[in-house]
């Protein structure tokens, strides 16, 4: 028998935490706790990303997703801190139906996950021989339109198609801008003339 393969250990650790707290999100009725569980779940997922060698994406996950959830949390606190809104009960019949449907969904997806032979995982020697790969620069270049990781691609036709994601990057940037403006517009404070008059 071999010694412990530590990445596997951490995988089980992180995935266990992530799944547990995802379940916590599902089952908890307090919106603030849900947000807290969600943060932990997402942070653990970022650990899974680090384990899979996607360190930049992991850091992004920590920074953006967790930050985004932070805002969710704030809103949760702001909008639901009145007691009657902290817990909004769902009827138990719905819970039962949802549980069964969820079970079926999970079963189907899980069956798909183990349905492909090539997804079984590497043997240990191969896994240990995989070179550490730095991804930040290739990722950045990819976003700027140059796929430096594909220079070794033997098929010239394939290499032609791999022109990077500059265009998408630009679209997403503009999209973000539009969203910012749109969100600011949607959420702007409405002038309530009636209430002012009433106060006066």
């Amino acid at each position: 028998m071999d010694s412990i393969y530590w990445p596997s250990f951490f995988f089980w650790l992180f995935s266990g935490v992530a799944c547990t707290f995802a379940l916590g999100v599902l089952l908890s009725k307090n919106i603030v706790r849900m947000a807290f569980y969600l943060v932990i779940s997402l942070a653990s997922t970022s650990g899974l990303f680090f384990l899979a060698g996607a360190d930049f994406v992991g850091a992004m996950q920590l920074m953006i997703y967790v930050g985004g959830t932070l805002v969710l949390l704030i809103f949760g606190v702001m909008l639901t801190s009145q007691d009657r809104f902290v817990e909004m009960r769902t009827s138990s019949g719905e819970w039962v139906i949802a549980f069964f449907i969820g079970l079926m969904l999970f079963f189907t997806l899980g069956r798909a996950a183990f349905g492909v032979a090539a997804w079984k995982g590497l043997d240990r020697e191969t896994a240990e021989a995989v070179e550490v790969e730095r991804t930040v620069t290739p990722l950045a270049m990819g976003l700027l339109g140059a796929r430096v990781d594909q220079l070794d691609e033997p098929d010239a036709a394939k290499r032609e198609g791999m022109s990077g994601y500059l265009f998408h990057f630009e679209i997403v940037s503009v999209h973000l801008l539009v969203v910012l403006i749109g969100a600011a517009y949607l959420a702007r404070a409405k002038r309530k003339t009636g209430s002012v008059a009433a106060n006066a």
């Binding site: 990303f49 899979a52 994406v57 809103f75 798909a112």
Partner: protein, 119 residues
């Protein structure tokens, strides 16, 4: 009896399947969250979970530690998950704005009260 299984889990590298399974679990949790929460913010959290589960799949398919053959997505997986993250942030911003508006109009974030469009 338990030892070989536990030992295998800890001594052998995990594969894409495991990641996909975790992703599937988070996805299911997210969907159920969306289906059962009456709080609009709860639904948003469900969406975050769903997106995160999907992201996990992209990362898994792109990783060279899990599946070292020519069919990995490579960097494309990471790039796509980056886009997902960014768009999720955008989505959250808009959704929160909508929730805020909804709150302003209804004094509540209960989505069951948003049924004016029922047939």
């Amino acid at each position: 009896m338990l030892n070989p299984i536990l030992a295998n889990l800890l001594t052998e590298p995990v594969g894409v399947s495991h990641y996909v399974l975790v992703g599937a679990f988070m996805f299911t949790c997210g969907v159920l969250c969306m289906a059962t929460k009456r709080n609009a913010l709860g639904i948003l959290m469900g969406i975050e979970l769903v997106l995160n589960g999907a992201n996990l799949n992209f990362i898994a398919f792109g990783s060279r530690y899990l599946r070292n053959d020519a069919n990995t997505l490579g960097l494309d997986g990471q790039l796509i998950s980056l886009f997902v993250i960014v768009l999720a942030a955008a989505e959250a911003a808009v959704a929160l704005a909508i929730v805020l508006n909804f709150y302003n109009n209804n004094d509540s974030v209960d989505v069951d009260r948003a049924d004016q469009l029922s047939g």
